[in-house]
Symmetry: C2
DNA sequence: CGGTTACTTGATGCATATCAAAGAGGGTGG
DNA sequence: CCACCCTCTTTGATATGCATCAAGTAACCG
């Protein structure tokens, strides 16, 4: 135990704090991302039932939430902060397979273990569901399963887009695609499209785009020099010429 | 109409032939991939109902089955042959997002349009379902929806593996990963793991791995020179040193 | 058996990686 | 509140793996 990253959210010790379970929908009333999550299609009574099996949890930045190959006993809804999903090669190379934001779902797998590791990139809030209990609710609430299928389909489409980025786009196109992706996801959660909030490091972006830290940095500089973006405080990126960025991203 | 690739399987004209619909499960009796497909969890009565909405179709090699951005009115089960899924950039660059084999599912999307194009790479057999009718059966047969969620989760895991390949592996590691993937998928459909049957061209493999035709070819030659594989007739690849190939693929 | 397409091999170039070091934030303790 | 330190970012110089361009060879199909 202690401060090592090996302590996950499943052990309810060491810093990750459980807030609530069991009650009625009161807790979910204030949820700002309800229309994006698993819970979107449920009425108040159904929501209460779902609430009875969830634990809302805060995780500190840098904390590991779950690890590849570990038993997939829980699934999560992200309600705040940003999470990175990644896979490691034996020699330490890292591939980030996605970033999660409020409303996103975490931990879905058809196997008995997780397919990737997940780490909080900023302080984050999660709703944690025991997987078996959630599956137990499917019969009673088929809407839940339908919703999960819809979310999985969306993730699949996003994964396919990312394969195009990784396999066939040049560095500039990759970075432009990335900025527009973040911008679009802000819109989905009712945040202004511009400026783009970039909470992740250059190294994270590099591992997501199949580049190096240096190349990502150079590419930002080039976009800035062209006047298409400007870099602001706290990792904010102002898009100054969206059309140019979009053309670049699409490979026109 | 005519011979242009623009004629898809949805138009039931020009070469793609509908075999049957409507009957009882008789047609499915001989299906060799029933345990892999959507139909796996269904009993005979349920299968008959599913049969009543399906059309079994043969498609010629090279024929386009569905196109990105077109209305997603049908979904398909592949029962024979090999299909490539791809996305194009405006300047003609192509990214192949996956290859489908018997037992695989095609056309799943949460949106109203397909997320990619699909083309028969060899002569192929498909079971075609009207999407709305299939969704209509979900209430009656929740097993069907459960199965679809499982298949989508599997696809998602495969997509994440592929992101690691595309983003962080070198050419040799990519090709080794690819050969082992094909081998593993043969095992899943009860085909011997070795030799690996490679029905796709070097260009297809290149577009799947984010390489060029020439690099794929050179890499095959290198693996051959090391004695790890040998190239046989009809695109068969004999794996001679699986452990070496596996270590290479995993990046050890 | 000839034509066509796919594959292989070679020579060269370039985009991005790698190695290296300086500069900018951001948080902490005095 | 300021100074210091640590980490992240930026920039520069060089190296290299893969792409590109080019041509020969093998496989396949009618």
């Amino acid at each position: 135990m202690g401060l090592s990253g090996k302590v996950t959210v499943m052990d309810s010790g060491a810093g990750a704090e459980t807030v609530l379970g069991g009650g009625i929908a009161a807790f979910c009333e204030g949820c700002e991302v309800r229309d994006l999550t698993l819970c979107a299609p449920l009425d108040d009574g159904e929501l209460a039932k779902l609430c009875s099996i969830l634990h809302s949890t805060h995780v500190d930045a840098g904390r590991i939430i779950l690890e590849e190959e570990e038993p997939a006993d829980y699934v999560f809804n992200v309600t705040g902060g940003c999470i990175r999903l990644f896979k490691l090669l034996p020699d330490g190379r890292r591939a980030i397979t996605g970033f999660l934001f409020p409303g996103d779902f975490l931990g879905l797998t058809s196997r008995e273990t997780y397919a990737y590791s997940a780490e909080a990139l900023t302080p984050a809030m999660l709703c944690r569901f025991p997987r078996r209990k959630l599956e137990g609710l499917f019969e009673e609430m088929p809407k839940l399963e339908r919703r999960l299928l819809g979310m999985a389909s969306n993730e699949l489409a996003a994964a396919q887009d990312q394969m195009v980025v990784l396999g066939r786009k040049a560095a500039g196109e990759k970075v432009a695609s990335f900025l527009l992706l973040l911008s679009n996801r802000q819109v989905a959660r009712h945040v202004d499209a511009n400026p783009v909030i970039v909470p992740m490091s250059r190294a994270d972006i590099a591992d997501y785009l199949g580049l190096t830290t240096e190349t990502v940095s150079r590419t930002f500089t080039q976009l800035k020099t062209k006047g298409w973006i400007s870099l602001q405080a706290q990792g904010r990126v102002l898009i100054r010429d969206e059309e140019a960025l979009r053309d670049l991203a699409e490979g026109v």
